[in-house]
């Protein structure tokens, strides 16, 4: 595994996008990509284009919705927002993720001893 650019599992990226939209409200694709990069403090540097695959997947499941709006600098852009179903999914998946990562941590600590 490389050090700087981590490969991101599909599901992980979906979860990040959901979390971002939940925290920030409606955003356009570029905004979401920037936000994820900022939060990860540039540990994760993604090809920004890949988030569109994630956005499409989430839309097809109706976990997020999309609509055209105007961006800060007065351009028309497509804005994505989390839906009610999306929030439920986010809650469920976040919980899942926490459980797994807790287990992971314990495993790794035990292994170090």
């Amino acid at each position: 595994m490389g050090e700087s650019k981590s490969d991101i599992l599909q599901g992980t990226l979906d979860l990040m996008v959901l979390q971002t939209l939940d925290a920030m409200g409606p955003l356009h694709g570029y905004g979401i990509a920037r936000r994820i990069e900022q939060i990860s403090e540039d540990v994760l540097q993604l090809n920004q284009g890949t988030i569109y695959a994630s956005l499409l997947r989430l839309q097809q499941r109706r976990w997020i919705s999309a609509s055209w709006g105007t961006s800060d600098n007065n351009r028309k852009a497509k804005f994505y927002a989390i839906t009610r179903t999306g929030r439920k999914q986010l809650a469920a998946q976040a919980q899942n993720w926490e459980r797994i990562s807790a287990v992971m941590m314990r495993m790794l600590r035990l292994a170090q001893r």
Binding site: H28, G29, G49, T50, Y52, Q60, R62, N73, R84
Partner: protein, 893 residues
């Protein structure tokens, strides 16, 4: 979306993808704008951070990661790529078809014929053999016949007393019903006259038992059906109308139930009207009446036999069990009534089988034939496609070079086949609908009376199934072969040789299959020819016939009927243009009405003849029909009740009952109608006439005794008028003369004698015509296949042929070589086909007349026809081969 929560994720995805498929173009445009915006923002970001604008753009694209690929991916996961590709292939397929109109036209026409013929035959087969009868649980219904080896009865109608005993003694049926069958042909219905509603109208009516409708499980549209007691004399003046009669004679008046109508001079209360789908036993029956016997008559009449019997199996009782049960009853009756029931057995037959029995073999034969035709169509198309594949090698090779997998190319080729087949199938369905109209108009009498041939949903599905099956059959082999072409440079390598081998194989198959059809068709054509050559025993030209039933109410006794018939005959004879007139109880080729035992004077008491047919006629009949008198005299007006009884017999009777005597010697012998112990009184044979065909041109006449209506009158009588008038004019005159005798009488069964003969051959003509058409098409398709392969062979080797010619080869030798090349698969196919035909044609033995299934002439004619058409197909490309110009051929390289 309000229900978004409730929708499972997979369904949401599917809905979204289907929508994506439809709005694909708009979404692509939107997404590319979104990507452009994203890149702009990213670029601006870099510029803000101080990167020079040109470099900023480049870095933005790098950071984004291949905008084109991402758009492509997005497109694919948005819609349904499988369907999208298919649509693309369909569009491409249509375009390719437009580009080569000759190929497309031939292919589509071929398919339309194959699918159309298949569908047309299916619509008849479905109507006759497959569609359930319009009765409740029709599978439970069986017909019961009497059998008797002594009388050569295999499926005879029953005697009333036997029916009555079956009904009370059986343990297998919920009930058994019966109906009158007074004639060996048709549905057994008789004519009654409906008066009081406009013109007197002849109506086909059927006498039935009171429980018939319950046994059939048939509910009326209006009113009720009969109740049991109404079948007895005294209660039986009730009637049930068919939907057709209700509409035509009573204008669909719903108040008809409860009204009284006059039938042949007697009043009947209408108690019910049946729905339009109902019929029994044939669609010609317009009216049902209880048979109105006395209980005593039903319980004691063990001969003659005149009832059709139909029963419904008890739930849980198998056909086999019912047969056992009935056989037991028949054996018991045999012991109980040796006088009438010796050797009298029963035959049970599922009702549907009984209905379809006459048509089954022919229809199965036609189904098989049309199946072969369909295979030939497929082989031919496969052949065409292989030929085209070769000319498309370049295109397909380029596709593969550009990265299309073999599966992808295969799929494209199969989709093209499907497009062809869809167009051909739609046309074929149209053809089948037209064929149905033609069939019902021109071949109505060849289709059993009960069946209605229609283009319904089942027929549509069948056409659809054929259209889907065809491309799989004809498309798979060429597609596999064609999708293999890998190298652009490939010209005449191994795959072409394989293709040629395949195409020769297909031609062999086509030839083999079509020669089977041709042999079958020739056999049927020869049978039909033999049938047409049969002497029916009378002269069919310039004569019309009609049937006349005298209502019992107004003509209560023989004397009154005799006067009426004689008067009608006299008036008709006096018309200008009329050469001869006569009437008979059963016209030639219309079966028989009744038969009975005959005692021959001078024989031992136990030695009597069974099943002599009886007909009664006016003195003019034999002359009107031009039946030859072999010995003795014809009837004359003097043969009346007051004179000693006389009879004229046909040649079959004379030969069979008086073995070794000449016709002249038979004249003067005495016989009596009945068994020796009946003491019926001697009747003198005064004449012997030539046989008239009775049950069909292909069946020999049965022994028949004729009586004069002056001594033994039967009603109805069928008149024969030999006249120089045109038929319409003749019928007009006849109507006027009949009306002059009694204005309430009507003519029924009007036909010319030629039509009577024609109707008796209708089913033979029907199957022969269809099979001949199929065989013709098959031959044509085979020729097309042969031509295609050979034309390709010549064009492939034009260079070699050109050089040979330039080097001095004789054109005639080249011609022979090419023809030889073409005829090789033909010869192999013909050999296989002829061998196969021997096996197949023995199955159609019962459809043949006057020829054996292995008739050498038929095989010879079929082979000659095939050889001629194949040679013609070879000659064209072979001629071209002899005209190849070496220089042009070389320049083409």
């Amino acid at each position: 979306m309000p229900n978004a929560d409730a929708m499972p994720a997979w369904l949401a995805i599917l809905v979204s993808r289907v929508r994506g498929l439809v709005t694909s173009g708009r979404q692509d445009r939107e997404f590319s704008r979104e990507v452009a915006d994203h890149l702009d923002m990213l670029t601006d970001d870099y510029i803000r951070r101080g990167v020079p604008p040109g470099d900023a753009r480049r870095q933005a694209i790098l950071r984004f990661g291949g905008p084109v690929q991402i758009q492509e991916q997005q497109h694919e996961s948005r819609g349904l790529p499988f369907i999208e590709t298919t649509l693309q292939d369909v569009r491409y397929g249509l375009r390719t078809l437009r580009k080569s109109p000759a190929y497309s036209l031939v292919a589509i026409a071929t398919l339309a014929i194959g699918i159309g013929a298949g569908t047309a035959v299916f619509s008849v087969v479905g109507a006759v053999l497959l569609r359930p009868l319009p009765f409740t649980a029709p599978d439970e219904l069986v017909r019961i016949f009497e059998t008797n080896p002594l009388r050569r009865w295999t499926r005879n109608i029953a005697a009333p007393a036997n029916y009555a005993d079956w009904r009370t003694q059986n343990k297998s049926f919920t009930d058994i019903a019966a109906y009158e069958q007074f004639n060996s042909t048709g549905s057994g219905a008789s004519d009654v006259f409906l008066t009081g509603f406009g013109e007197p109208q002849g109506v086909k009516s059927l006498g039935v038992s009171g429980n018939l409708f319950q046994v059939l499980g048939a509910a009326p549209l209006l009113g009720r059906t009969f109740v049991e007691e109404e079948q007895w004399e005294g209660r039986s003046r009730v009637a049930i109308l068919s939907y057709g009669l209700w509409q035509s004679a009573f204008g669909g008046d719903p108040a008809i139930v409860g009204r009284t109508i006059t039938l042949s001079g007697r009043g009947y209360d209408v108690v019910g009207v049946m729905p339009p789908t109902f019929f029994f036993p044939g669609r010609d029956v317009q009216l049902w009446l209880p048979f109105g016997y006395t209980p005593q008559r039903v319980q004691t009449s063990r001969r003659p036999h005149w009832l059709g019997v139909i029963a419904r199996l008890r739930p849980g009782v198998s056909f086999e069990q019912a047969r056992e049960d009935m056989n037991g009853i028949a054996r018991q009756l045999e012991q109980q009534y040796p006088d009438t029931n010796t050797k009298m057995g029963v035959l049970l037959e599922p009702l549907h089988d009984s209905y379809a029995s006459g048509a089954r073999t022919a229809l199965l034969m036609l189904s098989g034939a049309v199946g072969l035709l369909f295979l030939i169509v497929c082989a031919n198309l496969a052949n065409l496609q292989l030929g085209r594949g070769v000319s498309r090698t370049r295109e397909l090779a380029i596709r593969r070079a550009l990265g299309a997998g073999r599966a992808r190319v295969l799929r494209q080729l199969l989709t093209e086949s499907l497009v062809l087949s869809a167009v051909g199938g739609a046309l074929g369905f149209g053809l089948a609908a037209l064929a149905r109209i033609a069939l019902t108009r021109y071949a109505a009498s060849a289709i059993p009376l009960f069946a209605v041939v229609q283009t319904d949903r089942a027929v549509l599905f069948f056409a659809l199934a054929l259209s889907l099956a065809a491309p799989v059959i004809f498309g798979i082999v060429p597609a596999l072969s064609n999708s293999r072409s890998e190298q652009v440079t490939e010209r005449s390598g191994s795959s072409t040789r394989e293709t040629r081998w395949l195409r020769n194989l297909l031609v062999t198959c086509e030839v083999a299959l079509s020669i089977v059809l041709v042999v079958g068709a020739v056999l049927l054509l020869r049978s039909l020819g033999r049938l047409q050559d049969v002497d029916p025993g009378f002269a069919k030209e310039h004569a019309v016939t009609f049937t006349m039933t005298l209502p019992t109410a107004r003509y209560p006794d023989s004397a009154a009927r005799f006067r009426a018939f004689t008067e009608i005959e006299r008036r008709l004879r006096e018309q200008p243009g009329v050469q001869a007139v006569g009437s008979t109880s059963t016209l030639a080729l219309r079966g028989f009405t009744w038969s009975g035992d005959t005692t021959i004077e001078g024989r031992a008491a136990a030695d009597y003849e069974r099943d002599t047919r009886h007909m009664s006629m006016t003195p003019g009949y034999f002359n009107a029909m031009r039946v030859r008198l072999l010995a003795g005299r014809l009837f004359d007006t003097g043969d009346t009740r007051e004179k000693p009884p006389v009879t004229i017999v046909n040649e079959s009777l004379a030969k069979r009952y008086f073995r070794g005597l000449s016709s002249a010697d038979v004249v003067g012998k005495r016989i009596s109608f009945g068994r020796p112990q009946d003491n019926s009184g001697w009747i003198t044979i005064v004449g012997v006439v030539a046989d008239e065909k009775q049950d069909g041109l292909d069946r020999s006449a049965e022994p028949t005794a004729y009586s004069s209506i002056g001594q033994a009158l039967q009603n109805p009588q069928t008149f024969v008028v030999r006249t120089t008038d045109a038929p319409d004019m003749a019928f007009g005159k006849a109507r006027a003369q009949v009306a002059a005798v009694d204005k309430d009488l009507a003519l029924t069964q009007t036909a010319t004698l030629e039509e009577v003969v024609e109707t008796s051959m209708a089913d033979a003509r029907f199957r022969t015509t269809l099979l001949a058409v199929f065989a013709g098409i098959a031959l044509l398709l085979a020729a097309l296949g042969i031509y295609g392969v050979l034309a390709y062979f010549v064009s492939q080797r034009s260079r070699e042929l050109g050089i040979r010619l330039a080097l001095g080869a004789k054109p005639a030798a080249l011609f022979r070589m090419v023809v030889g090349q073409g005829m090789r698969p033909v010869a192999v196919g013909a050999a296989i086909g002829l061998a196969g035909a021997v096996g197949v044609t023995t199955l159609m033995q019962s459809l043949l007349f006057g020829v054996t299934p292995v008739d050498p002439a038929a095989y010879g004619v079929a082979t000659a026809a095939l050889a001629a058409i194949a040679a013609a197909a070879c000659a064209v490309p072979a001629l071209r081969a002899t005209r190849v110009d070496a220089l042009t051929a070389l320049r083409d390289e």
